[in-house]
Amino acid sequence: MKPPPFTYHAPRDLPAALRTLAEVGGKVLAGGQSLIPMLNMRLAAPGHVVDINRVAGLDGIEVSRAGVTVGALARHADVERAGAHPLLTWALKLVAHPAIRNRGTVVGSLVHADPAAELPAVLAVLGGHVRVARWDCGRVTFREIPAAEFFVGPMESAVGPGELAVSAFFPALEEGSGAAFHEVSRRHGDYALAGACAVVGVAGARVACIGVGGGPVVIDVGGDLSSAAARVRDAVDPDDDIHASAAYRRHLVGVLAERALRDAAREGAAARGA
């Protein structure tokens, strides 16, 4: 249970980090709460590790009317404490345990793209994006990847080799809308068997489901909440594993989606004073 040897890089600024990534490839180390278990279990053996923990200027949490921008070194615990976005704060309380949230990063969780992780679903249901940087012909270039294109498959995001995700943007809830996140896990703090987060506004309702597909499964429910559970069950494609059968997960995610939609709708109505 010890990590395999690797060459270690600890760049101090973004250009240096990107140059290193361009030269050596290698794995980015952020909070290490997913990468180090994989190294300890020898599920990964990168030749080079690029530790971004000393890169200046990546730990910001910026709040504007449009939404929240979370830098690559903002830890789960700091974003939770900032309380800048109700759905993001709710989801963060469901991520692992406090000690893991003190190190793990929001952006790292998005890039890691575990199909059962909560934060990818939040980014997806809100229609946010991830800002990615690379070293290109002697300078830093950026691109923005919308959530709908970011989660490519299980444990696979659209961040390419040599690229660093520098921040993620979570759009604010529209006025008069509400949000909720419900999940079921075997033990508190574990990855969920299944879960669903919902945003319900005047214009319609959306739900994103976790643990039931290759990434977050987003379903536009429109105005009709009564048939939502059935539509969610049709849209998902869960697997069997030692924790639960596919049939149970399919049933469960319908129940959770309905519950999340109902709570989000109630909150939205309260916000509108209805």
Partner: protein
């Protein structure tokens, strides 16, 4: 390649030469001889290896020593006063029988020390949430929960 690092452990600057892959848990135990920090699962699940990094509980088995070069670490060895008197949290665990074999205890003590600093009078639910990331195979947790409340009392009395 080895890296020269300095960690401020329990108030004392300690130097070590470590390969980049050295886990903080192993650095504390093997390089610095502080075997109070226990290692159970080495993948973040059991909480035995929890130490305080700049005051916050973290998994030392999921942290590379090189990453935290220069940081302040508190281990179970650093919880007692300078004159060797056990901390309120340690005394409460002893008084309430919050341990049996003691393997999980260093992790619980570090976790609870930070928990009570942030929330000096937690409810039952907050205690359970606060220790949810630490596994104990012996006690059944009831006496650990009691110990956390008792520690909160002791801290309030001694403040």
């Amino acid at each position: 390649m080895e890296h020269e690092i300095t960690l401020v452990v329990n108030g004392t600057a300690r130097r070590a030469r470590v390969p980049a892959r050295r886990l903080l848990s192993d650095c504390l135990r093997h390089d610095l001889g502080l075997t109070g920090t226990h290692v159970g699962c080495e993948h973040g699940v059991c909480g035995c290896c929890t130490v305080l990094l700049d005051g916050r509980p973290v998994r030392s088995c999921l942290t590379f020593a090189v990453t935290v070069d220069g940081a302040e670490i508190t281990t179970v060895e650093g919880l007692a006063d300078r004159d060797g008197r056990m901390s309120a949290v340690q005394r409460a665990f002893a008084e309430c029988h919050g341990l049996q074999c003691g393997f999980c205890t260093p992790g619980f003590l570090c976790t609870v020390t930070a928990l009570l600093k942030e929330n000096p009078a937690p409810t039952d639910d907050e205690v359970v949430e606060g220790i949810a990331g630490n596994l104990c195979r012996c006690t059944g947790y009831q006496n650990i929960v009691k110990a956390v409340h008792r520690a909160a009392e002791l801290l309030a009395e001694e403040a």
